[in-house]
Symmetry: C2
Subunit: 597 residues, 2 copies
């Protein structure tokens, strides 16, 4: 049976040594959350994830969700009780606004909690993740009355939320959507249409589900300019806040999917359902992007989460499974064979994943910290930079972490040999679950296009230039430190390649937009590798500092440095291949006529 242990030591290292969040003790949220309190929260969270959520992961995969003739959906055995415990313990409220019952902790704390829940049980975690997206949209764009009506119960978890974008004929291209909103005399709307791929669209965990639905008000302009966002509760809410009668929305089908079986992916049929406009007429896409950006970071984290839990199980198996002998002579002389971790190629697979997990986690935390600063810093410059970074880096976190999450889950499955292919050991589930994260919330190709087509050019490239400068500063600050030499050399190389790629784009993409599209995937991957190289430099510095200050008593910091060196030797070389590919331009992709495919 698969197992999971939350990486608490890694969280401590990141929050204390790397991000040094005690620097921000003067800011709201941080002020109320000194490191020892955060640690307590994470220890409790870890316990819940390890003991309650993880044991349900395989159950959920096997049983899936069941839709009944009346459109109701039953979640897998144990899910309802686990959700009850989750709400009771107050976990959903972690980083939400105290004005609506939230605990107001920094996002970095919620991020760690998010990773743990997703590693323990990704399909379960999604019920909460979607709810948080709905919370963000209403918190940012809702009227005061809407906030009062919905937020407290979304924060507590008493209700859950969804995002309704996709229709059968349109996903990426929302301008084509047809769901119709008809204005009523009382200011409400009636919503009619079909939405598909609605995660957590119907279930039995909560007494109400708050759907956020994109639709077109009758007579609105064509395309994306005519899309509005509506709040459509599954059960209507009376004036006194109590639940009234069922709204006109029903689950017509749940999809059979490759993975995340325990999360119900619904076809939702809206038939004259009562909807409440949020964020203004024809401003729906704007409001939806608030949810999407929150969701995209969360999805990136799902990639990391599956890579982490798959790694833990692969490492345990590699230490336990006896098969063959080390190439350099037996290591387990008393036993019938050596543990397979003696084999360099098994090590390669484990180090590949370990060196990703630790730096990708740093990258996600570092990004989430900017999310916090964006909200609470009193310094305009800090907020501007944080805003720039969030915009620039969100597509990278989403796409790079999920592509690697899937690849890494596959590598960890490979460590198990044939035992990884049968469902018994749970490795197949990690792969199948991880796969969706590359697809939803904007397929990874869309993220790459967002990065090169929108984020890179915004404000004259201000965000990327600041990011590159920041890398330069790290190089300058530590290039004289001999122990930092490989990390500085690696960072310099990565940064130069990223800069060269950006320059190539500036020179070639405006004359032929297809050059941007053709370069986008490799640019995003190069960006991801450079970012993790940056994180390794920062982590190496933190590890060296800890050792030098006498805190390196155990092997943690040595392992950190060795893992970083693996990354430099074995992952960083891919940057050059991405650069060479993207510089070959659009022609090799576009020259064939459509009939040749």
């Amino acid at each position: 049976m698969p197992a999971y242990r939350a990486p608490l030591r890694e969280y401590r290292f990141l929050l204390k040594d790397v991000l040094r969040i005690d620097r921000y003790a003067n800011l709201p949220g941080f002020a109320e959350a000194p490191l020892d309190l955060i640690d307590q929260v994470l220890v409790e969270g870890a316990k819940f994830c390890e003991e309650v959520l993880q044991p349900l992961n395989k159950v959920g995969d096997k049983h899936g969700c069941v839709r009944h003739a009346d459109g109701s959906v039953t979640t897998p055995p144990g899910f309802k009780e686990a959700y009850r415990q989750l709400v009771e313990a107050g976990w959903p409220a972690l980083s939400s606004d105290p004005a609506f019952g939230g605990q107001g902790l920094p996002h970095v704390v919620a991020l760690a909690w998010g990773e743990m829940t997703s590693s323990a049980n990704m399909a379960f975690g999604m019920y909460r993740g979607l709810t948080h997206g709905a919370y963000e949209a209403i918190h940012t764009h809702g009227s005061d009355a809407q906030k009062q009506t919905y937020l407290p119960k979304l924060v507590s978890g008493q209700w859950t939320g969804t995002m309704n974008l996709t229709e059968p004929h349109c996903g990426t291209d929302l301008g084509m959507l047809r769901t119709k909103a008809v204005p009523q005399a009382d200011g409400t709307y009636r919503i009619t249409g079909q939405k598909i791929f609605i995660s957590a669209g119907e279930h039995d965990l909560a007494e109400n589900i708050i759907h956020l639905v994109l639709a077109r008000i009758e007579g609105a302009p064509a395309g994306t300019k005519g899309i509005s966002l509506f709040i459509v509760p599954k059960v209507l809410i009376e004036a006194d806040g109590s639940l009234g009668k069922r709204n006109g929305v029903v689950c017509g089908k749940i999809e059979e999917k490759m993975g995340i079986h325990a999360n119900s992916t619904c076809v939702l049929d809206y038939d004259n359902a009562v909807g409440y406009l949020i964020g203004g007429e024809n401003r729906g896409l704007n409001a939806m992007f608030t949810m999407m950006n929150v969701a995209r970071l969360a999805v990136g984290l799902q990639g990391l989460s599956q890579s982490e839990v798959a790694y833990q199980n692969a490492a345990a198996y590699a230490k336990d499974r006896l098969q063959g002998r080390s190439l350099t002579g037996p290591k387990n002389l008393g036993g019938p064979a050596d543990a397979i971790i003696v084999h360099p190629d098994v090590r390669r697979m484990l180090m590949e994943v370990k060196s990703f997990n630790e730096s990708a986690r740093a990258f996600a935390f570092w990004t989430a910290l900017h999310g916090d600063l964006l909200q609470v810093s009193p310094d305009d410059k800090v907020r501007e930079k944080a805003s720039d970074y969030m915009a620039l880096i969100t597509p990278v976190i989403k796409a790079y972490l999920t592509d690697k999450g899937y690849a890494n889950a596959t590598l960890c499955q490979q460590v198990f040999g044939g035992h990884g292919y049968i469902e018994e050991h749970g490795m197949s589930q990690f792969v199948r679950d991880a796969r969706i994260a590359q697809i939803y919330e904007g397929a990874n190709g869309i993220q790459a296009l967002d990065l090169v087509g929108r984020k890179l050019a915004a404000n004259g490239g201000r965000a990327l230039f600041a990011y590159l400068r920041e890398m330069d500063e790290v190089v300058r600050a530590h290039e004289a430190d001999a122990d930092m030499a490989p990390f500085i050399e690696g960072l310099r190389a990565a940064k130069d390649q990223l800069q060269e790629a950006a320059q190539w784009l500036m020179s070639n993409a405006m004359s032929n937009f297809d050059n941007a599209g053709a370069a986008s995937h490799d640019f995003l991957n190069l960006f991801g590798i450079a970012s993790l190289t940056y994180m390794w430099a920062v982590m190496a510095k933190a590890a060296l500092d800890a050792k030098r200050s006498g805190r390196g008593g155990d092997s943690f910091y040595d392992a950190k440095l060795a893992t970083g060196r693996y990354f430099l030797a074995r992952v960083l070389p891919e940057a050059g291949a991405h650069l060479a590919k993207l510089k070959s331009g659009a022609a090799p992709l576009m020259v064939l006529p459509v009939e040749a495919f």
Copy 2:
């Protein structure tokens, strides 16, 4: 619903223009199979695969195999009838020895048939594939009586075969196996033990199953030196050849797997089963390798087969699905959006797979042709080189084609967006089915170790040197041809990098065997890329020749050249990354203590 069309035009191009098999018309097998006859066979084969096998692929995935309380196994609906038609049409006998009822066609023809069956229905194809492995083992190592007893019915498909290697505690490390063979007075043995992961181990397609079982004769030496191979029929065969009573082997369980649901993966319990020694006492591993090498090429082909069928469906979807507009202005002005094939990143995914499929197929055919020459050439030199190449290249075909097969099936699934994640479109099945090919018949890490640890060094590196020389000759022959310039430049670069990697191994692997293990994965990938670059050079030459001789009337040859140029621009750059990684040596992988994982 997914569809499949056999790539008949590609087969014609390879057999006629690239491999020019009419050169071998003087050799047995080839003599009886002129190109137009081969073409007829393939056209008929394509029809069977497209019309009979492909429609059952999804059925098989959904229903899987069912084991009953008595240990019998029922295959999915339609499989039994399809198998009956297969046998009736004589397909199993295609390239088998005419002395036992085979048709004696060259392996290259059987290879095309193998690809088609596997693309159409990989799980179904395995029932035949395993049988062919059993046929090869008995054909090579069996006594005359054994050949007479088993081969005609394995050739006709009346019976099927299996390979029984793995036990619960050992897979890769066969030296640990415990299944016991007790000699009987009549010269037979009694076999007792448990085998797992036995593909096609029990089913209702054929009246008998011939298990080839590795076991240890009582008192045999420990380790791999004490392993023998036994023929253990499911149903015992009477002296007159008729079926007698059930032997002591029963299916104890079938595994729940990630994919290939329609192939029964069995736990087989042997309890005093009657077995017949084949290939001599304690010579079992030797005999088993005959099966393994046949099987490894077939498994490599499975990788290609899933990449091909996934590509076909992704290309069709990309031409059909309307979503968004081209970055360079609308291409489908009358429609609500452009087909997604206008987007460079969708093109990238398709070209990536297309450029692999065409060259990997050439590589497999080229290798199979050497397999034919090894068997039928009268020239000692030709046979020696063919033998060298088969040994050297088998692990590359197995591992490189299956790693790419899985990655490519995943890319093609990505083209479908969310529609790829649901089971409805069949893309998930291609990914889940393709995954096993990286694992069975020796996990890909084992293939890489076989390549660097055994195959490279054999006969003082004779095979690799010949291969590199052959690449040099192609460079020399065509470097003056301006139209060949990018292909020659690419081949030269790839060959130089492969040679540099081999030299690094020679200099560093003997002093530290872990350097060989640490380099193995990247060396194999570099070998794969260099080989496909070589194939692209050869195919480009063939395409140019066809055009120059006036046979380039349609766009086929132009598309071939353009697809090759994509490979050079967008795949070849990965070679440099593999070289850099492998040259970093074992230290980055091996330095961490086991406890740090």
